[in-house]
Symmetry: C2
Subunit: 255 residues, 2 copies
C-alpha cells in the first residue's frame, strides 16, 4: 500500500520527529511505500491568495468559486496540484501534528485550506441532487488517521476532562475534513504528557504508535453516519426518529 504521511512540526529533532521515524521504519518493514509532506521542511505556503487559483486580483475573490474553477480549468498552482496528486495516490493518509490550541498548527490548516478544493475532495453533485460528502466524497476508499501530541495529561481530554473530550475536539478535523471527503477515519493516536516523558514513557508511546501503524489497514474506522444513506433529512439534519433525545456531536456516530 501507499501511505501519505503529512507532518507539521518546526523541529525534526522533536518527540514528534522521533515518533515519525519509528512509524516510517515500520511501514517500510511491512513492505509499504511512503510519500511525505513535511510541511515546515517544504516551506509550505499556508495562505490562500487569488494567485493560487489564477484569479484576476482586480476582481472580487470568492474562494470557493475561484478554486473550483481553477481545478476544472487546470490552472491551480503547482504546489497545490502536487499535494492533490499525492492524496490521489495514497491508500492511507496520516496527519501528524502537535495539538496547538486544541487544533492543528497553522501550516497544516493552510495545507487543508489550499489543497482540499471543492470538486477535488468534495462537492460533486450526485444524480439525486445531493452532494458527495461525509463518507461519499471523492477520497472514499482511503483510510485516514491522526497522530497528535499534547503537553497536558490524557485526563484533561477524557470525556469529562476540562479541555474537552478528545473525540469531540478532533471532530472538526476527523469528521469535518477527513470523513467529509470520504475517507474512513481510524481512532486517533494520542501522545499525551509529551513535555515530561521519561525514557520508559517514550518507549511505550513509540511502541503504541508502531502497533497502530501495523494495523492501519485492518483497524475498524470510527462509525460516523454517512450523509446519503438515509440517516439525514433533506436539510442534512439527523432524522427525528434516530436517537430522538440526543443532541451534539455524538449523534453523528453510530453505536
Amino acid at each position: 500500500m501507499n501511505i501519505l504521511w503529512v507532518y507539521a512540526h518546526p523541529e525534526p529533532r522533536s518527540l514528534n520527529g522521533s515518533l515519525r521515524k519509528a512509524a516510517l521504519e515500520q511501514l517500510h518493514a511491512d513492505g509499504h511505500t511512503v510519500e511525505q509532506s513535511d510541511l515546515y521542511a517544504m516551506q509550505w505556503n499556508p495562505l490562500i491568495r487569488p494567485a493560487d487559483y489564477d484569479h484576476d486580483p482586480t476582481e472580487r475573490f470568492q474562494v470557493a468559486n475561484a478554486s473550483s474553477s481553477a481545478l476544472a480549468a487546470g490552472t491551480q498552482t503547482p504546489d497545490i496540484v502536487a499535494e492533490q496528486q499525492k492524496l490521489l495516490r495514497a491508500d492511507a493518509v496520516v496527519l501528524q501534528f502537535p495539538l496547538w490550541w486544541f487544533s492543528m498548527p497553522a501550516i497544516m490548516k493552510g495545507w487543508v485550506d489550499r489543497v482540499f478544493v471543492e470538486g477535488f475532495g468534495y462537492g460533486i453533485r450526485r444524480a439525486d441532487g445531493r452532494s458527495r460528502r461525509y463518507g461519499d466524497g471523492m477520497l472514499a476508499g482511503k483510510r485516514a488517521m491522526i497522530v497528535v501530541s499534547m503537553g497536558g495529561s490524557e485526563h484533561t481530554v477524557s470525556p469529562r476532562g476540562i479541555n474537552g473530550d478528545l473525540h469531540e475536539l478532533l471532530y472538526p478535523i476527523q469528521h469535518g475534513i477527513l470523513f467529509y471527503t470520504g475517507m474512513s477515519v481510524l481512532p486517533p493516536v494520542l501522545i499525551a504528557s509529551a513535555d515530561r516523558m521519561t525514557e520508559t514513557d517514550y518507549a511505550a508511546a513509540e511502541s503504541g504508535l508502531v502497533q497502530r501503524v501495523k494495523s492501519l489497514f485492518t483497524d475498524q474506522p470510527i462509525p460516523y453516519r454517512t450523509q446519503n444513506d438515509g440517516d439525514y433529512d433533506r436539510r442534512y439534519v439527523l432524522r427525528d426518529d434516530i436517537e430522538p433525545e440526543a443532541i451534539g456531536i455524538r449523534v453523528h456516530t453510530t453505536t
Copy 2:
C-alpha cells in the same frame, strides 16, 4: 471602550468586508475606539519559527519553552509584541472569519499560535500551585466574540445538523483559546448561507451583527465553568457529583 477587531479574509470586497464596515461604524457611533488586525492586509506571518523567539536554530526547538523564555527576556519579534500590546489594551476582542473546514483560516490560527505565548495569555502559577487558565487567565476581564460566516445553512450546524452543533464546533476556539486565557466569551454571531444571500438576507445579517455589536458590553457570556473555583478535581476532570451521567463538551457549561 477599546475594541480589537481581528479579521481574516483575503478579500476586502467580500460579504465579510461589508459586515465589518457596518460593525465598525456602529462601534465608532457608540463612542468606542477600535484597533484592527486585518491579517491578510498586514501580511501576517502565521508560522512559528525559532527566530520568533530568538532561539538558536542549532539547538532543539521546544516551542513552549522557547516562547515563554523569549517573553520573559523581552526577545520576541516585534510583530508578536505589537499584537500582544493590542490585546492588553483591548476591553473586547472580536474575531471575524469565514468558517473554513469548520475552523478559522490558517492565517488566524497562526496569529493565535504565535501571539498567545505561555506566560502572556495563560500558564502563570497561582499560590496554590494551579495554573491560571479557563476563566482565570491573564486576559480576564476582557470580552470576546466570534463573528463567523459559512456557506451552508444554519440547519447544518444545529444541535442535530450533520456538520455538528455550532457551539461544539467552536469549542476549541471559544473555550480552548478565548476562555482559556480568561476572556468572557459571548455567543457567536453566525452568518449562514453566505454564498447565496439576497439583498434582504444581507440587510438582516448586517442588522443582526450591528445589534450584537451594540450589546457587546451588556450581553451575557457563555457560562463556561472556571477551572479554579471548585468544579474540577486535581486532574482537571469535572467532579463526579456534578452532572454525574453527562459526558462531552456540554458538561463544561453550566445552565
